[in-house]
Amino acid sequence: MVDAESLRERAVAALEAITDPEIPVLTITDLGILRDVSVRDGVVEVTITPTYSGCPAMNMITLEIETALARAGIKARVRTSLSPAWTTDWLTDDARRKLAAFGIAPPEHAASRRALFGETRPACPQCGSADTEQISEFGSTACKSLHRCRTCREPFDAFKCH
């Protein structure tokens, strides 16, 4: 009989290196996608939550979790939970720094309901200028918006407040 707690610890260690396929600098723990790891009757149950309802990375993340655990010789089940709804407030400070270093402006303020009009103007992750403009609220992935810096003239992605 395998000790449940040591099995859980081995599973958590195996999951540590799994990154988001779209944002390879962040692990699924950094992002708050990995919600829970528990052991039930010798089987590890991993709970993940999607960032957006239709996030196409979820299937790949599930596959990567199953692969990583299988490699470690651990029998596992992955389940998806929608509640509580994922929010950018769960991004760790470390994750915010990694995002900025990668060239993606991190979500600046706590997520709140958006007004019907108005736009966000995150600081440029390349040159740090606050003089930026929004090109589109929808970017290259569901979780990012598209901006342009008026100082260095470079376009950049920002992680949307959610």
């Binding site: 309802s53 239709g54 709804a85 994922w86």
Partner: protein, 252 residues
């Protein structure tokens, strides 16, 4: 055993509620995805595809939950129902038309769906509450996007104004159906009528900025919720369901 090519779904009030919301999301998502490769600019193509993705994701969650009562998978519900079994509003199945038509439709629908999910986040049904809490964050972006565009189209050139007003006039008779009461259990989802004032306020505020004239409420189209659809849905399903019809039970 031969794979099933058509299913009949037993509709309890809850299943009808879930299918109606899921079908609205999937069909509008499918229409928006048709813009891929045709949008007026690259950024807009990304935006419409992103919105379509959110809607299809929401539909998947709703079909998944409906499946726990009907025994059908989300794929079966999407690919194996014929036209009369679809419960979406007529407004979402209409062809895309020009860009103004697609944007006006997105605004008219999102201005309803956004407060609908926000209120449903307090549902007595914990699964509906979870799906709604997720969906309303996404629909608030959809609503903003449509509103910002309509202001630019309405308050833009004479041509964009004319097209936006024409789209609004053509789509208006389809808005009444959004408020159809599906007679759900109390506390499950809000009564659509209770969202009428919120919808009116959103639409009026956007139309004022867009310098567009709100059409008068006349006779309203309906029938989608009871499976009486326009001819357009059949064409859409013929494309969307092609693979499962031609190769029943195919998986990959």
């Amino acid at each position: 055993m031969a794979a099933t090519t058509s299913i009949a779904v037993e509709e309890t009030p809850l299943v009808l509620q879930l299918l109606s919301r899921a079908d609205d999301a999937l069909i509008l998502g499918h229409r928006l995805s048709e813009w891929t490769g045709h949008a007026p600019m690259l950024e807009e193509e990304l935006a419409l595809a992103n919105i379509a993705l959110d809607l299809i994701g929401q539909a998947r969650a709703l079909y998944g939950y409906a499946g726990t009562f009907t025994g059908h998978t989300e794929d079966e519900l999407a690919y194996l129902r014929d036209v009369p079994a679809w419960r979406n509003c007529l407004i979402v199945e209409l062809p895309n038309g020009d860009f103004a038509f697609s944007i006006v439709r997105l605004l008219l629908v999102s201005a309803f769906v956004d407060p609908f999910w926000r209120a449903s986040a307090a549902s007595t049904d914990s699964t509906i509450a979870a799906i709604a809490a997720k969906a309303e964050k996404e629909t608030s972006y959809h609503l903003r996007h449509a509103a910002e565009w309509l202001i630019r189209l309405g308050d833009g050139t004479a041509e964009s104004h004319r097209r936006a007003q024409t789209a609004l006039d053509d789509l208006w008779p389809y808005t009444g159906e959004l408020f159809t009461d599906l007679a759900s259990d109390a506390g499950m989802v809000p009564d659509p009528i209770s969202l009428r004032n919120t919808w009116n306020a959103t639409i009026d505020s956007v139309l004022a900025r867009a310098t567009l004239v709100r059409p008068s409420d006349g006779w309203m189209q309906s029938g989608g919720r009871i499976g009486r659809h326009t001819e357009h849905l059949g064409h859409l399903l013929a494309e969307m369901q092609f693979l499962q019809r031609a190769y029943p039970g195919a998986t990959w």
